[in-house]
């Protein structure tokens, strides 16, 4: 008989511990998060564009706020989200409809991330330069 020492404590949350999934699960989580982010952007985009029918002044005022550096940074996030969602989306399609897709899913995730990083490295400095040039000029 072993010592039989036991201690108890309440389980945090009903679901127990977090499931320790692999890259596949986390890429799916990221795909969801970026997808939802892009969805809200689209709603916002449609609404602010619709403003032009309400009054051009209101439209201009809203668009004016988008020219601030803060929105310049938000735009970087938006491009990052769209970039990941698009590249990983291609990966998911290949998993489903390319016979070797499931086998190379992990490699394809890394390839998608590398392409995404290259795109971001190309885009971010240029974009921020434009944003800050605009701010200085304004």
């Amino acid at each position: 008989m072993s010592n039989g020492q036991t201690r108890t404590k309440p389980a945090k949350g009903q679901g127990g511990t977090l499931y320790r999934g692999n890259t596949g699960m986390w890429s799916w989580v990221l795909h969801r998060v970026t997808g939802i982010g892009i969805f809200f952007f689209l709603i916002e985009h449609v609404l602010s564009t619709a403003l032009i029918r309400v009054s051009p002044e209101a439209y201009n005022a809203v668009i004016g706020t988008y020219k601030t550096p803060i929105f310049g940074l938000v735009e970087v996030g938006l491009v990052a989200a769209i970039g990941f969602h698009a590249l990983n989306g291609l990966r998911v399609m290949l998993i489903d409809f390319w016979s070797k897709g499931a086998k190379y899913q992990k490699a394809m995730l890394w390839i998608a991330i590398v392409i995404w990083a290259i795109l971001m490295i190309g885009f971010t400095p240029r974009h921020l330069m434009n944003v800050f040039a605009e701010m200085m000029g304004a």
């Binding site: 389980a11 511990t17 999934g21 596949g24 499931a102």
Partner: protein, 257 residues
Amino acid sequence: MATKTELSVSVGTPAEEAGLKPFKVTLNIRRYNPETGDEAFWQDFDVELYATDRVLDALHKIKWEQDGSLAFRRSCAHGVCGSDAMRINGRNRLACKTLIKDLDITQPIYVEAIKGLPLEKDLIVDMEPFFESFREVQPFLVSNTPPAGGRERLQSIAERERFDDTTKCILCAACTTSCPVFWTDGQYFGPAAIVNAHRFIFDSRDENAAARLEILNDKEGVWRCRTTFNCTDACPRGIQVTKAIAEVKAAVVRGRP
């Protein structure tokens, strides 16, 4: 009458006889007792184990020596029956196939029931919804034509190979209950049902593929799969579950196996 012969009865496990030293391992088990009406809670147990022991041996030691009320399922204890899938350190595994030496025992080992099926007691869940989905895909050979030559339904090696992977399923539910889609949508057929449909859809002797493909083209069918690969990672039989699901998706699009 023959004279009484001396039987040499071994008292210990092979590890004990080999003179190996056991070490103390802490298991943190998520307990739940429906009779008390209390919420689930974590309870830790210290057990003396050998590196060659499995998580199932640890559970046995606890149940037999410390707390007989601990409830879990097991039958074969050798990875064949599929009774003891549980979440071990956050991943779905068979307790009888998880060696202590493969776990980090400097930390407690977390053991809890599989997720997404109704919890009944401690590590036991209600498997009925799981088996219901399994039955719905008609997991049996259907043929309306008599076999050629009137005797056997012959199959080439290549035809048999086509679905070999999915014949290995032991219906442990490790895959289905590792699926994030299944956790939030219990109506989803789940990987195991699709694996067992795959086994017959791609069987050259079977004639009911069209019906199964139609069933799985349902809103809660293969299109719920979001390719997280948790199922492939969890399967104790090493079945390429996500690949099998992808093959069924492609077959649904083609309209034939």
